[in-house]
Amino acid sequence: MRQSNIGWLFLAPATLILFVVGFVPFIYILYVGFFDWNTNAIDPTLRWAGLQNYRSLVFDTTFLNSLARTLGFAFFVVVSELLSGYVLARALMADRLWGRQFFRTIHTLPIVVAPIAVGATWRLLCVPGFGIVPYYVKLWFGIDYNISTNAYHAFATAIIMDLWHWTPFVTLSLMAGLTALPKEPLEQAQIDGGNKLQIFWYVIVPMLKPVLLTTVFIRLMDALRSVDEIWMLTKGGPAEATRFIGLHIWINVFPKTDYGYGAAMSLLTLYVTIVLSWLLFVAMTGRKGGAQ
């Protein structure tokens, strides 16, 4: 290890770029949020508005509904991906499985496909009148499945699309975590006569906690900011059924050019995201894992 000032020299270019594209926008939006600013208004200059933007935001039901919808969506997909990912990871852990590497490669596919192409593909699958999903759902279950008129169908499809997109990631990362677990505590627990549920809750979960925390954290952040796929699938509709918060900001701020309000909206969203990840962190690390 050498002295510090030369180390900074190597760090400087990366820090500078991230300062400009990561930190400056944050400060700027903090600043704009306190102003009344609409470039298409009669007075297109910045006028001090204090907390007015935030005050109207609290009564903006479209915004609040969108936020609530996003939280519901994120909660649902993260929980179901975690559960199904865990079950699948345990089921797929058979050693010496023929073609294992091949299957793993296939399951990496959804992770690397562009979200916009995922949305386009699911649109091809689900669009009324063309896709195979409405056709077979009608044929087998007699349900008139229509994502462009039925809010529930659209929301459910958004969830299923996200499950398709990200369950493989959760499965693969939990498999990696499970493979790395030491065998002794598990064997010891079995000798001590623990049943499967006890072993799961008191032995596996505490040991797997770092992996679970990381996976949930990454999935939650991604679910809260998903825009591209939904935009391609439903455009946020029908009405506002699938208009999640990122999409809401995107399709509202730019056409309306109400920048002050948009800044407040963005900042509040960021705040909610940070608070959520912090809560998650506290909940996962602060909880006493039984056996300890």
């Binding site: 089921a91 058979a94 496909v113 562009a114 975590g177 992996v211 809260l224 455009k235 999409l247 900001i249």
Partner: protein, 277 residues
């Protein structure tokens, strides 16, 4: 094979079919002529390439493809270079407050893009303007901007790689009279090459896949990328499913090509090294 092995094998097969089905459907649709589009069969009936040709013959799509190629490649190269330098600094020097800086660098990746669209749009159109040149609607703007999610990722991956290279090698080279630059280029660089390749491919894919920034911060064929082309096509033309599928397939193609190579590293990469895939 034991019984659980067979059950697990069957499960793998079912999951694989589920995973591949949407992509397979996209491929089928892209290879169907208009008259057969509404067929519900799951087989490729004939090798019909006109959808692909139509997409590739439109000059704007080729331009978008080219833009994406330039942006993704330049960004991946930039990120690898700066990431290697930063990782070298973090891994080989005691930097006061280094841990905090590192943490801050990494958090940039977690920022929700939609939140930063507005400030970036305003900065790109009103502040980062130099004479006639503004960052808005330029490839350079996108190349710099994509650092916000790719650079933290590269620094993380490369720091892990460099931490794995024994410090003794540096010291030995220095005893032989190598300068810091020579240590970096003759000792670190050859050993970090596999890591750099992985970093390059993954960041390239992330840059290629990005949509929201590209859609907001570009407005003309000068800088629009292939993902925005796909989104525009869907909103404008609506129901030409064959060409839309062909375009979606072309957008997915790079990911399909590097899939086998990326597979081993993607879980490690995405979980910030918390897991070894």
């Amino acid at each position: 094979m034991r019984r659980s092995g067979i059950a697990s094998f069957v499960l793998w097969i079912c999951l694989t079919i589920l995973t591949l089905l949407p992509v397979w459907w996209m491929l089928i649709v892209s290879m169907r002529p208009r008259v057969k589009l509404y067929s519900k069969s799951f087989l490729i009936d004939d090798l019909y390439w006109d959808n692909f040709l139509a997409v590739l013959n439109s000059s704007s799509f080729l331009q978008y493809l080219w833009n994406s190629l330039i942006v993704a490649t330049s960004n991946a190269a930039l990120v690898c270079a700066l990431g290697l330098l930063a990782a070298f600094g973090l891994s080989r020097y005691k930097i006061s407050g280094g841990d905090n800086v590192f943490f801050w660098l990494i958090t940039n990746r977690m920022a929700p893009p939609a939140v930063f669209l507005l400030p970036l749009f305003l900065l790109f159109t009103k502040w980062f303007v130099f004479g006639d040149f503004m960052l808005f609607d330029t490839k350079i703007g996108l190349i710099l901007l994509y650092c916000v999610f790719n650079l933290p990722f590269a620094i993380w991956l490369l720091k892990g790689m460099l931490d794995g290279i024994p410090l003794e090698l540096d010291e030995a080279a220095r005893v032989d009279g190598a300068t810091t630059g020579q240590v970096l280029s003759n000792v670190i660089l050859p050993l970090a090459r596999p890591g750099l390749a992985v970093t390059f491919i993954l960041t390239w894919i992330f840059a290629w896949n990005e949509y929201l920034f590209a859609a907001t911060l570009t407005s003309s064929a000068d800088a629009r990328t292939v993902t925005t082309a796909l989104a525009e096509y869907v909103s404008v033309t609506g129901t030409n499913w064959g060409e839309m599928a062909a375009m979606a397939f072309l957008t997915t193609l790079p990911a399909l090509i590097v899939l086998g190579f990326v597979q081993k590293h993607i879980v490690t990469g995405l979980t910030f090294g918390a897991l070894k895939g």
